[in-house]
Structure formats: C-alpha cells, structure tokens
Subunit: 681 residues, 2 copies
C-alpha cells in the first residue's frame, strides 16, 4: 500500500521512518512503524494523548525538507480540544493531522507510552513506564436480536479489533454493572485493562461510561516492622501523587520481629490478630492518603508490597512460626500475585496485589526491592549494599554474581535498647561532635538546623526540647567518643582521669559519659553508658561480620563502593560508620545513601511490570548465605566487636582520623579486646 | 533402553504393547506406552489405584504365551494392601508387580483415569471421566538453609518432577495452612490440583497431610425458575453420590421469569434481593446434600451450574433488566468461570464455578446443557429437542447444523393457570383415559400405581387424597376429551347433549367436564373448564409454532425423531402430545424422553472438562432464531391453536387414533377454528 514516492515521515527521537500515502493520520503512521505514541481513545480526537510536535524546514541530518503544508490543516477537532483543554502552540493531535508531504514529527515525552520517570540520584536508573493496567476507550456494537451475543462479548471484540488486545477475561466485579454502563455511555466506554502477567491472563478490571478523563493509580507500599510507608502513584504519568506513613500497629505485639513471632507462638490466634492489625493499619494509611490527595481508592488498580519475611507472612495471613527457628523455611519464596479482595484491602476489588519474591528466610521482599532499585546485578564495579534495620540485609555483587545475607543487628541502630535512646523524632540528638582536646560535645537535634553551641539553638528547640539520642546520633556519639579517646578499642569508657574529662563519671561498675544535663529545667539527663557502647558494638559487629562473610564468599578484601539503604541509612555519617567499624573500609566518596531503596523498588515494580519478571529472575540467581550456619560469621563477629585502634585513612577526602591507642581495661568486664580484622594491602 | 528381546507387555483393552527390560514395574510400562492406568500416589504402593489383572496362558490373538512367572512374585506391599483393604484375587498392584517375561495385562475400568460413566438410556453417549481437579500424592524435599526456598516452591517442584505437572499456581487459600500440613505429614502430602482450563492456569487448590484416602467431589446444579436440583458427584469415580432439589426461593418474587424481571424493575435492590435468595437456596440445598451424604462441603472442589438466562444473571448478581425487553441482551453469553468465593457459596473456597454458555437472550445455559447431553450436533438423523417449561427451548438439527429458539409456552404445562391445576405432587392426577363410548374418565394419581377404577385405588391414595391435575395429567385429559369427542377441533367443550355425557355441564357461558367430585368427602371438585382448554391450546400452539419455525428455517417438513427433555418431558405421553398437536408428527417410537437432560449436561461438564470447550464451540455454531421477531412464528401460532380434527396415524405402533370430526361452535368465543399445518407426503 505504501510506495517509495509516498511522503516520508520521520519520527524523533526514535528515528523511525517510513513512506505513507497522503492522508495517513500521524497516529496510524506511528503505529505502523512501532513508534511509541500514546492514545487512549484510539484516534477519535478525545483523549489528546497522541500530541505530537511537527518540525518544518530543512533537516540535513535526515535528508528531508519539510514544507509548511507537510501536514493537513489544523482542524475543528484540534481547535475544540485546544480551546477547551489547552495545547502548546505548534502541537498537533496525531490522530487528526494527516500526512501531506515529507514530515519530521517529534513525539514529546508526555506522549510516549513508555515514558521515563526520572529518578533524582545521579547513579539511579530512570523508571520506564510499563504499568500493569492501562486505559482503552472503545465504541461497542449494539446488541442485535438476529445475531445474539452478550454485551461483554461485543466489548471484548471491540477491544480486540480497535486495540489488538487478546481475547480478554473480565474480572467478576465488572459483570454486575456492565450493562447499565454501556447504555449510559451510549455504547462508548473506557476500560481499565490489566494486561496480564505470569499469574493472570489479560482482563478487564473496570469500565467507565463514555470517555474517562481521569487517571488510574497504584500504591507502592513498604511494610516495615516499625513503620508502613505508602506511595500513591499515577499509573499513566508515573508521578508520585502522595506519600504517607504510619506506625505498624503490630508494634503492640512486640517491638521487633522475633517478639512478634513469639507472640504468635504463645497466643492461639496471635498470628491472625497481627494479620488483622497490619491490614487494618494499611487500610487506614490508604484512607489517609485518599483524603489528602482527593483520589478515590477505587481508582487504585494495582499495588506492590515489599516487606521482610515475617511481615510478608503476616500480611498474607500466614503464621510466621517457621521463620522463628532453623531452617527458617518460608511458606513461599516466589513472588505472590493475588487479588486485593483476598487481602481485604480497601482499593478496587479487582486490583492486583504483587509482593516481590523473598530472597531467603531472613532476606525478604524488601531486600529484593532494594536489589531492584540499586541493581547490584547490573553494576560494573563491586557494590556492597546494606539496608540497616533490626535485621541488616546485606548484598554484595556485580553483574557477574550477587550474594545476600541477613545479619541480626538488633534494634540498637534504631535507638532502642540504648539508655537515652529514642526513635528519630523532634528532640532527638541526630548528629554529634566531640572536641578532641576539651572532650566537650556539641550536637544537633531533629527539628533544628543549628548545632548546640550556635547562637539561637535553645530557641530553635523550644517546642521539642532535647529528649534523647536516635540511631544516627548514637553512632556519631560513640564514634566521636572513640576519636576523642573517651572510649578505648575494646569499648570501655575511661574514668575522668583516663578520659581527661569530668563528663565521665562512675555509673555502677563502669563509667558513663554525660552528653547533656537538662535536669535543671526539668529535662532529661542524656548520657552514653558503657552498656550503650556494648549494644552498639554488638550491632555493628553483626553488620560488619555479615558484610565480611559475603566478602569471604566473594573472595575479595575490598569493595568498590558501599550503598546504605533504608531511612536510617540515609542519616548515617559514612565517616562515623567507618570509624565504628560498621562497614568495611572504602573511599568515603564511594559511600552513598540510597534513601528508601525498598520503597523505590516497590515503585519500580508498580510502574514497570517487566521489572517484576526481571527481579524474580534476579532473585533466583542471587546466592543466599545463611549467617546462622556459617562458622566464619561467628568468627568475624568475635573479631569485630572492638572499635578499631588504629589509624583510618580516607584518602579521597584527604581526611585522616587518628584513633588514640588507649586501653582502659582494668580486668574482667570487656569483650576481651578482640581485634577487628584489618584490611590487607 | 528397551530391546526387542526384552519381554513383551500387552495391555488390554487398549491393545497397546511394547518391550520392557525385566524388572520394569507394570505402572512404568503403562505410562511409557500411554496406557490409561490411574495412580494417585505415584507408584508408592499406597493408593492401590493402579490395580491390574494379569492373564496367563496362550494368547493366539496376541501371538504370546504368558508363563506363570511372567510377573515378579506377590510382594509384601501387595499383601499388606490386600489384607488391610481387600483386593480381588488375581489382581496385582501395577506399581509393585514387575515384568519378568511376556505378559498380558488387563486394566480394569476402575483403574482407568478416563473411565467411562455409563448413562442408562440406550441412545445416550457414556461420559468420559476427565475432571478439572485430580489428586496427586507427593513427597516434598525438606527445607535447607544452604539452599533456601519456600515450602510451596519445593511442593511445586515435587509435583512437577513426580507427575510432569506444569509450574503450578496456588490458590490463595492454600498458603495459610501449607506449612503445618507439610510438617504434620512429615513432608508427604496429597494435593488437589485444578488442571487449568481456558480461564485459569493449573493450580493447587487443597493440600492434605500424608496420603489422603478419601475422594473429592463436584456439584452439578440445575437452577430452574421453579426448582433447583443438585447432584453431588465423586470426581474420581464419576458416581452420583446424592441428588436433591428444593423450590427456588425466588418464587416469592414471582412465579415466572418475567414477573421476576418485573420485580427487579419495580423495586430498587430487587435484583440483589433475588440474587441473595437464589444463592441462599443453593447453600441450603448443598447443606442438605452434605447432611444426607455425610460428605463435607469443603471436599466439593468443582461445580457446574446450568440455568436459563434470567436465573443465570440473578445467580451471578447481574440485574436481568435487559432480558425483559428487546433486544434481550445478555450481559455475557460465553461460559463463565469463577471462584466459589465470588458467589458466596458454601463449598471449598477455591472450588471453580463453571456456567455453561447461553445460546441467546431466551435460550440459556440450561439449553446448552441439553445440547451437551443430547448432542443434536452429533446426530446423524434430524432430531427435534424440546425442553418443556415455562419457556420451551427448542433445538432442531443434526451434525450439519443446529437451530435453536425459545417459545413462551407459559406455565399451563406445569399445571399453573389451570382451574384444577397443581404441581406434580402426591394427589395430582398425572395420567388420564376417557372411554370413547361411555365418556367416563379413569385416571392415575401421583403416589399410587393403580388406576382410579381398579380395586384398592381408594385405599392407595388415603394419605394424599385427590387434589388436582398436574401438567402431564391435563395434557392427557384434554387429548382424551378430544379423542372422546367431548372437545371439538377449535377447542370447545360440548354441551351434555353434544358431548353425550352428563359430566359436561354449563359453567358460566361455556361448558366444563367433571373429572372427579370429592365434595361428599370434603374433597375438591375437579373439572376441566373451557378456559383450561384455551390455556393448553395457547401453550401447545407456542411450542408447536417454535418447532415449526425451526423446521421452516431448516427447510424440512418432518423430523426423524423427537426428544422431550426436562422433568416434565419425562412424564408426557407422546401419543397425547401428538393428539394435542404439541409436537410435529413423528413415528411414536421415535419420540423419547431424555429426563433431566439439563442436569445431565451439567454432570457431563462437571466430569469431563473437555466437554466444556466442546459445548462452548458448539454453542457458538448454533444458529439462533428469535421467535419474537419472526413473522412466521405468529403465523404458525395462529394456525396451531386448534386441536387436530383429523385422523392421526402412528404406523409403527399400528395404533390408529380417530378424532371425531365434531364442531361445537355456537358462535363467537373460539379461536376461529384455525387448522394445524399438516404433514405432507
């Protein structure tokens, strides 16, 4: 049908080109060439998704000259659309403008189906939009007594004919309202179609009468042991419309995961109670997000959940009993795909729910989401990926191989089990420095941008006061105490004489360091006790040992870069983490934070269904290392409990931190002065 | 691996043969040859489903001699099985007995997977067992910390390895209890696996710890406007375990379908009310069946429903509004497959629900089930298939072409709108004869085997009395009145003088015929009024006109045979039906009853999933004729209201029925004496 003397149409940025007879709509030409040009209404001039930007003049690069009359005249449909909804000058509707001569047509990003959602971090890959559910507008043949067929069957035929969709199934919830909707729309409807995946065949999940102008949405949810965070995303643009979080209501059954597993063991129906609690929490969070954003939850057609294995099981209604004991068997490790209704969620009943696969009994779908977000499996250099929480999930790898393990850091890094510890909230000390000479501390408190020795600090914290130390604060404080010679390598706080400061005081059988005394104003006395040091030592030893174990398995002694994931990871100072020996040595500028990488991974899986098959494949290939049965892990752990005695160099930053070679041990109550394994070479 | 000098194994009845090395288990040989030999435990000597019957001696037909030691010795597993459960002498377990020499092995019917379920009627095809859900016993690899994988994934792997099953999905309901079940069974479980169809991929729907000795079941349900009937079937043997029926609780919303459609039009929420009513009724029926049979409804893993379009929609929760008016558009005409939970049924939540396709807006899934049972599309001769009810569904066809239509017969054939009419229940007159000379009636009553003029009749009906006339009774009565000259061709009852009996009496402006007067004993006076004759005339005219219309479309004047379907069809006397002109002329011995063909069709679809694709394909090919818009239908209807005046011959039976050529018309209130179209040639 097309001949070489037909006009040439070149699409940018794809560069796809072809000859088309005069009168061919641009949208038709784009489809025939496989150019990524969106359309919901199928070329009926209703949806305006197919906007294109023609260019005129000479294009030496393409070897064409585009005349002013290369396209058909601006028409009434375009004029109506532009006057009612607005359209940039120079833009045309691809379904209205037809080819009249050689043309160069740019498809702007917003007109592409597989548009990119830009991620802010420099090293992060952009997200390609490829959502599970898309909108399609169709006009359906009316029923005919001479050729009886169901309304649904004629709808499916229209979707097949107009959109090349396969023979679609229909979600059961659609059936009841299909007939009145078709008639109200005078046989014109917009369908939300789930395009199918490994779990379900393609199906119609919702029908609107006429052309539906709105969008459809998805939720990306990170169910943490402590908090649940959800992002409401537009499934057409990829935009995050609203993010919000709540405390996980399961906290009343136990602060950490193992206490929740215990609760289910000790209480008949305990697991079911916790399942109800977490689902109720999620529903409340969704309602909050709906109220704030004004988006009806019935428009949420897809949701992706990431969580650790215990949360994963409890959310799905599975008793986590087996996760509390060796061999830590998951009920299911593969990705789970189900219907919102099965989980009693308050989004569209036909919405699909997708949980990323779990990597192992201790390394969950949240770790898989971090993998998806940070893509160690696609990294050219060797990356150590650490998601710090009550359990640290650690991954080490590059494009050749990825190893993963989990390490039981305990809750110290989250401020729990620390004498003055608290969660990261206004009033919490989050940053700390100690003058190596005077041994005097200064700090910053969440809610204020000022350091405690700066003018106006007291006023800046009036509303919260100073209430405690959060996870990042205790890490910095202990590291600074070590740098200032207040704590020795084995982890003992010196006496006032040994440490050279009256802030050290005898506190039971060991010494504590006074950070802040607010008692005069009715406030707290904030100290770091020797027991706090121990807790941090145990936590950091666990984290370090997990990383070292993976390095052993990978047969390397160094890593090229370290990525700290998780909300907590975003607040850790790499320098202090390295002083403490939480993470292996690495050039400081090669230590970055990925923020909430698990949440980002959930968002990627939500917006790009191909990423789901991809992460499932990746997770199958990840080599899992179980710390509990690795003798090397125990060995590393024992060796890693001390805080380094020696000089640390951060050559890239030209920073040299000299740790005083002190030892306050007076016998009996240290961890034995075990030495951390040093980096070779 | 096999060589021609290896022993030869011949299986009967299939005749499949092959050489196998000594020591090959019979079950293995059968599988390699594709012989249909059942096994649930996969050859572990647990299930005994693979029982075979070896034969010994010379088999000239097969050219082999089977020595006494052709098979391995009777072993301990077989002995234990036989002593504990019993096994016929001579039988062997196919998984235990191994090939030692040339052998002839018979697979008895009960050891075949695709065994035949024998249908009683001579012309009916047997049902090949091929249920949607089968049982598989497997031993699952235990979890291993060194190679972590979910329990489910290891179960799926075992099913794949042992049974060549594809990568199975799992019903969401299985997940919650999988872990304790695997451990309780010490990693041995029996799985119910739905083998997948056009709607769902293969999936595990239930798991039992260890080897599950029981069976699994299915329900075949026929939702009629008046009654709901269900058959509980064993999905392994095909046996009907229990059948039961209840009145459709929707009757309180209207006796016939159109009054229920009206109810939904006139009452907000009326359709939902009726949906609840029918589902509640079905649940009660299922509970009854479970109570009587002792079968737990959680073992019901599949269910097939057939019903007319209005019931179909109401059962699925779709307002039948559109079915009440032209163009009678169905919400969906294709088969519907969904999960029991979506319909709030009280069987296994993962059970699949299958509704046969509807043929047209008035010809429902029940008609499709009749098609499946009676297979007009496979018939060599031309068959007219009539399912008589409030609507008669009529099909005409042979292997070349099938036509279908629905005809609004009204409820007269069910005893409704008849002055002394009642449903078929004890006390109802169901058979009638009138002496052509004395004009005296005799009759039989449901509940007694005696005619009313036989000795002991009065005693035999003591418990019920004589209460009215049911559908088959009124048909015989009117036909006998016509034969006896009490009614004339146009349908008028004669005066005592005209009819020659004092049983005729003036009853308003027309005459009635006294059948039975029980008033002396406080019983009813049972009469046939002229209005009753009219009702029957209208009903039979509708039925006949529908059949004639299809014959016109088929361009034939005669049919080779007639099948009467439906509970009512089973009770109609073909002779009387033909006297009345309900059905076209046909040799009497070519008129048969198919009983509850719709229920049988449901049972076929339940037991043989291939039959589902088959009937879907058949229904697509059926040519639908809409009586409401066919002028020929009205024409036939007008012509068919009279009762034939002439002689009817039933040559095969050598029966001649002479109808008196009387005409009692005294002007004005008949249907005009239209003549029924006669059979030509």
């Amino acid at each position: 049908m097309t001949k070489s003397n037909d006009p040439l149409v070149i699409f940018t940025p794809s560069g796809k080109r072809g000859n088309f007879p005069k009168g061919t709509p641009i949208l038709t030409a784009a489809r025939k060439l496989g150019v990524d040009l969106d359309s919901v209404c199928g070329g009926r001039g209703i949806c305006s998704k197919c906007q294109v930007q023609p260019s005129y003049g000479e294009f030496a690069k393409h070897g064409v000259t585009v005349a002013d009359d290369a396209l058909s005249d601006w028409n009434a449909v375009e004029e109506r659309y532009k006057s009612k909804r607005g359209m940039l000058d120079g833009r045309r509707l691809g379904c209205q403008a037809t080819v009249q001569g050689d043309a160069v047509i740019d498809v702007p990003p917003e007109s592409q189906v597989h548009r990119q959602v830009v991620r802010k971090r420099a090293e992060a890959r952009d997200i390609t939009m490829n959502p599970s559910t898309k909108l399609f507008y169709v006009e359906v043949r009316e029923p005919d007594m001479h050729d009886p067929s169901g309304d649904l069957e004629r709808l499916v035929a229209a979707l097949r004919n107009d959109w090349d969709l396969p023979e679609l199934e229909v979600d059961f919830s659609v059936l009841a309202t299909l007939q009145p909707k078709l008639r109200k729309g005078e046989w014109k409807v917009t369908c939300a179609v789930h395009l199918g995946d490994d779990y379900v065949s393609p199906r119609i999940t919702h029908v609107w009468s006429g052309y539906y102008e709105g969008s459809i949405y998805g939720m990306a949810v990170d169910i943490g042991s402590t908090t649940i965070a959800a992002h409401l995303c537009d499934l057409q643009s990829g935009e995050v419309i609203e993010s919000n979080g709540i405390m996980n209501p399961q906290i009343r059954f136990g602060e950490d995961l193992m206490s929740r597993v215990s609760y289910s063991m000790m209480n008949a129906g305990g697991a079911a109670e916790m399942t109800t609690a977490v689902r109720t929490g999620i529903k409340e969070l969704f309602t909050d997000i709906s109220n704030t954003s004004g988006i009806d939850l019935n428009l949420v057609m897809d949701a992706v959940f990431v969580c650790n294995p215990v949360m994963h099981h409890l959310f799905l209604g599975i008793d986590p009993f087996e996760l509390g004991q060796a061999p830590f068997a998951l009920a299911t490790s593969d990705a789970v795909s189900t219907r919102a209704k099965n989980l009693d969620l308050n989004i569209h009943p036909a919405a699909r729910i997708y949980l990323l696969p779990c990597i192992a009994g201790h390394v969950g779908a949240d770790a898989a989401a971090v993998t998806l977000s940070e893509a160690p499996d696609k990294s050219e250099d060797l990356v150590l990926l650490v998601d710090v929480g009550t359990n640290a999930e650690i991954q080490l790898g590059n494009k050749d191989k990825v190893l993963a393990c989990s390490s039981p850091t305990g809750p110290a890094f989250e401020g729990a089990q620390i004498s003055s510890g608290q969660r990261a909230a206004p009033g919490a000390i989050e940053r700390a420095e100690i003058d190596p000479t005077t041994k005097e501390p200064r700090f910053r408190v969440i809610g204020s941008d000022l350091w405690s020795d700066e003018d106006g600090f007291a006023d800046s914290i009036l509303s919260s006061g100073i209430t405690g130390i959060c996870g990042s604060g205790i890490i910095e404080m202990v590291a600074e105490m070590r740098i200032a010679g207040i704590v020795d390598g084995p982890g003992l706080i010196g006496s006032p004489e040994q440490a050279g400061t009256e802030r050290c005081f005898l506190d039971g059988r060991t010494h504590s360091y006074l950070v802040y005394d607010g008692t005069a104003d009715g406030g707290p006395k904030i100290t770091v006790t020797n027991r706090d040091i121990r807790e941090i030592q145990m936590a950091k030893a666990a984290l370090y040992s997990g990383a070292r174990l993976l390095m052993d398995k990978f047969e390397v002694d160094t890593v090229d870069r370290i990525v700290l994931a998780g909300a907590f990871g975003a607040h850790i100072s790499p320098k202090h983490a390295m002083v403490l020996g939480m993470i292996p040595d690495c050039p400081l500028d090669k230590v970055t934070s990925a923020g909430n990488a698990a949440g980002t991974g959930a968002r990627i899986a939500l917006l790009n269904t191909e990423a789901r098959s991809e992460i499932e494949e990746t997770v199958r290939k990840i080599h899992k290392v179980e710390t509990a049965i690795e003798p090397r892990f125990q060995e590393h752990f024992v060796n890693a409990s001390a805080i380094p005695n020696s000089v640390e160099k951060f050559p890239i930053l030209e920073t040299v931190v000299t740790l005083p070679d002190v030892n306050f041990n007076t016998g009996g109550d240290t961890d034995g002065g075990g030495r951390r394994r040093r980096r070779r070479g």
